[in-house]
Amino acid sequence: MLFSSPIFIFLFLPVVLFLIVISPKKLHNFILLTASLIFYAWGSVSHTLIFIFSILFNYVFGLGIDKASGNNRKKILTIAVTINLVLLGYCKYYNFFLDNVNSLLSGFGKSSIEYQKVALPIGISFFTFHALSYIIDVYRRRVSAQRNLLDLALYISFFPQLIAGPIVRYIDVATQFQARMLNMEKAAAGIHRFIFGLAKKVIIANTMALTADQIFVLPIAKLSPALAWLGIIAYTLQIYFDFSGYSDMALGLAKIFGFSFPENFNYPYVAQSIKEFWRRWHISLSTWFRDFLYIPLGGSRGSEMRTLLNLLIVFFCTGFWHGASWTFVIWGLFHGTFLLIERVGLEKILIRTWKPVRVVYTLLVVIVGWVFFRIETLPKAIDYIIKMSFMPSDSPAQFFLMEYLDTKIIAVLVIAILYSIRAFRNGNSFFERALHGLSQDALYQTFFQTCKVVISVVLFFVTVSYLASGTYNPFIYFRF
């Protein structure tokens, strides 16, 4: 069940909201847990058992770590982490592993291993990382183990973040299970955020997806370089608006039910280095890897070589986490390599250059990186990058930019780019400052708040009207 599907918006969400509104506070967590399990089971009944096993297992092991002392704590943690990773590895990487083994075997002229493909449980990467953050933080005594099974189950399964993040650390929300405020103001702010995220997904990401899909399906050799650029720019915007829109929806939904989740995006396309990009893109994932992989590996405390190796390991894992494919690994290492280059000297040069040059450099690296992310094989990705380079080609182009641009695409592209470079945020704060400067008068405040609500209502109807006439368009991040 996608957040941008009619069944979620017009049935599931209003019903859950209604139940929360009419029920006493002590039942809220139970209602949300039940709703979350239905939400998960709706997408994959057969995997619900794995999911429930993960919840129960981590609950028991969390308590075990909390109670144990000395070396036993480490032993229990090791078992818990191993089982979580084995589960993730089996469900997500088993097919990939055997496919690669078979490729090797066939290379040596051996017969391949026959095997039954394993279906990927929805959101396993996310709920496993949630669970790992919980047990590791319990081990580090940064937080006590949750004794209430219902609360822990709600933390792992809470439907807003269940299948596409953000990866909320237990430590950040631990107190909110019992002591959160649910009021109309918060709910309204949550709805604002949800509508905004929905609009990002439905109006911008889906439109960009259409353009990107149309271009990526064409033979690369027959693309004009300008069209190849349009394709990857459309994809660059699609993936950002798709994923950040989803995160906005998740944060908004959480807020409606009284939770506050940390931000997952902070205008990544204005970053002035790759290092900064990863502080703005999928923040919850990069923070997770920093805290639970990079730092345990030694972080930057060892030699420079060790630090560089740690960074490469983290980015290898980041790429691999995104999908069981070598192109994701290459994408991760591509980013990791630039991070290393920045660390060994480029960063110092960048600091001295003009800010737009730094942004353009970062965007170029990110955009080229998305080619590896989008295209399924390495040779094709390289062909695509060569095409983008405007190098002369043997075969003449048959598909040109103007055939794929129309008024709507141009309008959405312009809006998406302006948003990505924070033009609207700056405009909004200018507007707020102006109003604030004009007067603290209640009339102005009323006008401003009314405008916000009217914009939200209009945006909601426009967005759901797009949704109503739209076709099935799954979120990109559901693959992970």
């Binding site: 069940m1 599907s5 009619p6 069944i7 918006i9 017009f10 049935l11 969400l13 209003p14 019903v15 909201l17 209604f18 709706w42 997408g43 994959s44 009944v45 057969s46 109309m184 103001e185 709910a187 309204a188 709805i191 604002h192 103007m402 055939e403 129309d406 008024t407 709507k408 309008a411 209640a442 405040q445 009323t446 708040q449 009314t450 609500v453 939200s456 209502v457 909601f460 109807f461 426009v462 759901v464 009207s465 797009y466 949704l467 109503a468 006439s469």
Partner: protein, 519 residues
Amino acid sequence: MGKIWKTILLGLLLAILWTPLLQRVSGIFNEARLKGAYIVPERPEFSVDSFLGGSFQKKYEAYENYSFGFRPFLIKLKNSLDFILYRDIDNTDLMAGKNDVLYSRGSADRTMWGKYYNGREINNNTLAKIKFLKEKVESGGGHLIALMVPSKESVMPEYLPSSYDHAKHENSDYEDFIAGYEREGISYIDLCSYFRKLYPQSKYPLFTKTGFHWSTYGASVAQDTILKYCQSLLTLPIPYYERKGVEFSDTARFADADFEDLMNLYFSIQQSKYVYPKLEIVKSSLSNHRPKVIIIGDSFFWQIKDLRKLVNIFSDDSKYWYYFRKSFPLSDEAGSDMKFLDVVQELESADFVILESSMGTLGEFPFGVTEYFQEHFENDKQMRSINGKREQFNLKAANGKFVCADISKNNIVIADREKAAGWETFSILLLPDNKCAIYTYENKYFSAELGGQGEITASRYKIAGWETFTMIKLDSNHVALRAANGKYLAMDEKSLRLFARADAIGKNEKFEFMQKGSK
């Protein structure tokens, strides 16, 4: 800010999430149905098995997509906004040209750019078959007339979007057919060139701004021409009508706004009035000779039929074979399945056989009738109904479901049916070299889309390379099918669709062949 006002605003924001659900449950507002053809999914029955297997969820979501409150309102809102802001239309085949004149993209690409060109060899092959039919019809004393109907863009290209300003093409099916008719001595009426000449001086529009087909007025002009031509071939006079002026209307009738209807907007695009000719049969002519006519054609002929004059002019047993899929009388009575007809006998006994095609449907023209006629006339004169006496069978895939040629889903071939009915019944046409073609209930052939993903569709009226298969008998009741690319047909476990992309015969490449016997 007043606390009450703030509460009202926040309440409004919360309320909007509930409005579609409330509308759905209460139906307070009476919502108009959306125009255009679409299939509304049925509400699925819940069962534990279907829920555990996930099929209930999929079906329920599909049902929910069509059922939520204010859906027609929202779709119209989006369509209207997109059209106002970008002149964008939520239909891949529809486009707005200059002055908001609507066109079919597919038809315009074919006409202006020469896209989807059949190729001269295929066209010559088709012409040879038309000639064969013509000779047989003429030997029975009838006449075969080919009717070439103009597409909107061929008559009024000046309103096409600017991307067509410099459109040019080397070859076109239209030119091939006109030249072929001349060469082969096939009688034809070229309404394309006639409409082009008439267009600048016509008092009333031959095409509306908002329709795909010719206007009702344009259809009446075409009807005049057809009848004059038919009369010129006969010695006896046929009934005729007189024109009694025209009627103007603010609202479109028949198919005059068929494109605009599909757009589901909140406003109307057409600014001028629609024109409807007043045609009156001369009663004294009703006793004249009423020849039998069989028209095989596309949707353009519907508008001539809608004028309701041919029913008085041609004999009662005259028929309109719509795409050679269904047979309609010239009256307003319902149509019938082609399989109930003796096609060869009908054609042989007609005074006129009119093969009609618009420029946009020349890829399918003449819709399989000449192949059918030739095959049945030459090979088996006893076979007088489409599926008659040909071995019929069903195919069951590895999942235990029947293979279905689903015309409601773009002619896909899918193994998801519990029972075998019409769409799950096929027949085999044996070809040389141990090859065969698979013929469906809807008179189309299986095709392996080898230009695409190798998906199997039931979409072709003609047999070419992609429509040939080799059937391999695996045991007494199982077969495998190999497509022209050498790959085996396999059921995709996820989509349940059939694809020609397996290198070896495994579980999913094996089909149970269930013979139904002769009919």
